[in-house]
C-alpha cells in the first residue's frame, strides 16, 4: 500500500472550509485564531460527513462526484464569503505576524508527545476489534455497497450495532471517495486528526480560560496514557465523542463567560455533530441541549442573554436534525435491548446494581488508567469550593446527569450479561469524558480569583 499526498487532501479541504467558516463568524469580534482552527477542523469534518450522508439520502447510494463536488464547493463558497466579509469590515484577509508564532509552541509539545501514537497507529493500520467489526465495516458497506448500502441495517448485522449513527463511517467514506478504494490510511488519519484536535482544543482553551501556560501538561497526560492512546488509534467513534463533547462544553463556557452569540452557535453545532457519533452521544447531546440552555440562562437577566440562548438552542435543533432523520428513517432500532423491568426471563435485579457500582469503582482505580482518575478525583475534592462555580456548573451538571442515565441503561437493558457488558463498554464511556474532566479540574484549580 502506497502512501500518497491524496490521503490528506480530503482532510485539508474539510479543515480549511471549517476554519474559514468559524473565522467568518468571528469577523468583527475578538477571537483566538488557534481555537478557531481547532473548532473549525471538527466542524469541517462533521459537515463533510453530513454532506456524504446527504448523497445516500438523495441518490440512495454513494455519488462520489456529488460528495467531492459539494465539499469543494463549500470550500470555494466559504472562501468567497470570508474574503468578502474581510473587505467589508476592512480587515486583512490573512492576519499573520511572526510575533504570533510564539503562541504556537504548545503545538510543538503536542506534536512531540503524539509521535508514539503516530508510530503505533501507522502499524495498527486496521485499528482495533470494533474498527474492523463495526466502524470501518460500516464504512466499507457504505463505500462498496452501491444501492445495497442499507445492508448495514440488516438484522443479520447485529454484531455491528446497526442502530449506531454514522458520523465516523461517513468521514471515512468521504476520504475514500478521493482515493477510489477503502484504503486503511484514511481511518487511521481520521483517528489521528481527531486526537490532535482533541488534545489541541483542551490545551488552548485552558490557556485562554486560565491565562496559564501550565495547561500544556494536559495533552501529554493523555498522549502518554497507554490506555488512552490504544483507544485513540483503535479507530473507534469514541475519540469523536470525546472531541465533540469537549468542544460543546468549551464553547458553552466561552458563550456564558462572554455572553457571546457566536460561541453559543458553535456550541449548538458541536452538540448536533456529537449526536451523530454514537447512541450514547445522542443522549449526551440531548442532555447538553437542555442543560446548556439552563446554564446560559441561570441567574442572568433574560433580556441580556436572550439572543445567546436562542443562537444555542437554534443551532442545537438544526444540528440534531441529521441524527433525528437517521433514527426515524434509517436506523433499525436497538436489536440488543431487553427491558429488564418488564422481562420475566431476564429481570433487572438488585445484584445488577451492585455489580454496576462495584465495576465503576474497580475501573476508576484500575492500573489501566495509571492512577489518573484517582488524581483527578483527589484534586476535585481539594478544589471542592471552586468546581461548582458559576462558569463551570455545566460540567458537573452534565457528568452527574449523564452518569445517572448510563447507570439506568446498564440496569434496565438486560440483553447482555452485565459484567461482560461493563468490561467491554464502560472504559470507552469514561475515555470519552476524560478530556472534559481534565478541563474541569485544571480550570477549577488554576482559574484566577474574581476580584
Amino acid at each position: 500500500m502506497q502512501f500518497t499526498f491524496l490521503t490528506y487532501i480530503p482532510f485539508l479541504i474539510s479543515i480549511c472550509f471549517g476554519t474559514l467558516l468559524v473565522n467568518t463568524l468571528f469577523i468583527n469580534k475578538k477571537s483566538d485564531r488557534i481555537i478557531n482552527f481547532l473548532l473549525g477542523g471538527g466542524i469541517g469534518l462533521g459537515v463533510s460527513s453530513h454532506a456524504t450522508f446527504l448523497s445516500y439520502v438523495l441518490f440512495n447510494q454513494l455519488n462520489v462526484n456529488f460528495v467531492i463536488g459539494l465539499n469543494i464547493a463549500m470550500l470555494i463558497i466559504t472562501s468567497i464569503v470570508y474574503v468578502t466579509a474581510c473587505r467589508r469590515q476592512h480587515q486583512p484577509i490573512i492576519r499573520f505576524s511572526f510575533a504570533d508564532l510564539k503562541h504556537l509552541w504548545p503545538f510543538l509539545i503536542i506534536t512531540l508527545f503524539s509521535l508514539p501514537f503516530w508510530y503505533e497507529g501507522h502499524f495498527y493500520l486496521n485499528g482495533g476489534w470494533d474498527a474492523w467489526s463495526v466502524w470501518n465495516l460500516k464504512a466499507k458497506f457504505l463505500f462498496l455497497g452501491t444501492e445495497n448500502w442499507k445492508a448495514i441495517f440488516n438484522p443479520l448485522m447485529w454484531r455491528s450495532s446497526p442502530h449506531y449513527p454514522l458520523l465516523l463511517p461517513m468521514i471515512n467514506v468521504y476520504g475514500w471517495s478521493f482515493l477510489g478504494e477503502p484504503n486503511p490510511l484514511i481511518p487511521c488519519t481520521t483517528a489521528a486528526l481527531l486526537t490532535f484536535l482533541l488534545t489541541g482544543l483542551l490545551t488552548f482553551s485552558l490557556i485562554r480560560l486560565t491565562k496559564s501556560y501550565y495547561a500544556v501538561i494536559c495533552a501529554p497526560v493523555l498522549l502518554t496514557l497507554p490506555y488512552f492512546v490504544k483507544l485513540c488509534l483503535s479507530q473507534y467513534a469514541d475519540v469523536a465523542v470525546g472531541y465533540y463533547l469537549l468542544a460543546s462544553v468549551v464553547c458553552l463556557i466561552f458563550a456564558q463567560k462572554e455572553n457571546n452569540k457566536v460561541y453559543a452557535l458553535l456550541s449548538g453545532i458541536m452538540v448536533g455533530l456529537l449526536s451523530f457519533t454514537k447512541s450514547e452521544a445522542l443522549v449526551a447531546a440531548l442532555l447538553l441541549t437542555l442543560l446548556g440552555g439552563l446554564f446560559l440562562i441561570w441567574k442572568q437577566p433574560w433580556k441580556d442573554v436572550k439572543w445567546t440562548v436562542i443562537c444555542f438552542l437554534g443551532a442545537c435543533v438544526i444540528g440534531l436534525l441529521p441524527a433525528a432523520a437517521f433514527k426515524i428513517f434509517f436506523s433499525p432500532g436497538n436489536q440488543t435491548f431487553i427491558n429488564g423491568l418488564l422481562s420475566a426471563e431476564k429481570p433487572a435485579d438488585l445484584m445488577r446494581v451492585k455489580i454496576i457500582f462495584s465495576f465503576y469503582l474497580m475501573e476508576l482505580i484500575s492500573p489501566n488508567w495509571n492512577g489518573l482518575w484517582i488524581v483527578l478525583s483527589a484534586l476535585l475534592i481539594f478544589a471542592v469550593k471552586r468546581i461548582f462555580s458559576r462558569e463551570l456548573l455545566i460540567i458537573p451538571a452534565f457528568i452527574f446527569c449523564y452518569a445517572g442515565i448510563i447507570t439506568a441503561y446498564y440496569f434496565i437493558n438486560t440483553y447482555f450479561v452485565v459484567d461482560w457488558w461493563l468490561m467491554v463498554s464502560f472504559h470507552r464511556i469514561i475515555y470519552a469524558i476524560i478530556p472534559t474532566v481534565i478541563l474541569w479540574t485544571f480550570y477549577a484549580v488554576f482559574k484566577k480569583k474574581q476580584l
Binding site: P116, S133, Y213
Partner: protein, 139 residues
C-alpha cells in the same frame, strides 16, 4: 499574556501529580514501541483477514452468503476470524449458521467436516484457497 508561577499549594500539587503521571506513562509506553519495532522487522503493518483475501472477488455480487464453522464462535479467536471474514468480504453479509444460501463459506478446523457438510447439503466446492477456506455452491 505572561505565564505565572503556581500561586497555591493545590496548583503545585496538580502540576506534580500530572508531571509524575506523564513520566511514569512515558516509561510504560516504551514497551509497546519496542514490540512494534520488533514486529516491523517481519511485517510493515498489521494485516487482518489474510485467510480470506481474494475470496471477495467471487462473493462481491452476492448480497448474502452462508457461513459455517465447526468451532465455537463464542471463542475469542473464532469470533475474531468471523469478524475478519465479514470485513474482507464486505459488502457481502455472512449469515452465520444459515446454510440456505446459494454460496456458503466453510471455515473449519477439520476439512473432513466440510466435505461431510457439503455432501449433506448437496453442495460442490466452488473455490478453495491456500488457507483451507472453502467457498461452496449449492446445486
Amino acid at each position: 499574556m505572561k505565564p505565572y508561577l503556581p500561586k497555591t499549594r493545590l496548583q503545585y500539587l496538580f502540576l506534580i501529580c500530572f508531571s509524575t503521571i506523564v513520566i511514569t506513562n512515558s516509561v510504560v509506553l516504551i514497551q509497546p514501541m519496542k514490540r512494534i519495532y520488533t514486529y516491523k522487522k517481519v511485517v510493515t503493518h498489521q494485516i487482518i483477514g489474510h485467510q480470506f483475501a481474494g475470496l471477495e472477488e467471487y462473493t462481491k455480487k452476492e448480497p448474502i452468503i452462508g457461513y459455517y464453522s465447526d468451532t465455537d464462535l463464542q471463542d475469542k479467536k473464532q469470533g475474531k476470524l468471523l469478524a475478519h471474514a465479514q470485513y474482507i468480504l464486505a459488502p457481502t453479509i455472512l449469515d452465520v449458521g444459515n446454510l440456505d444460501h446459494k454460496y456458503i463459506l466453510f471455515v473449519c478446523e477439520d476439512e473432513r467436516h466440510v466435505w461431510q457438510k457439503m455432501k449433506e447439503l448437496n453442495a460442490m466446492p466452488y473455490l478453495r484457497n491456500e488457507f483451507g477456506m472453502i467457498l461452496a455452491e449449492r446445486k
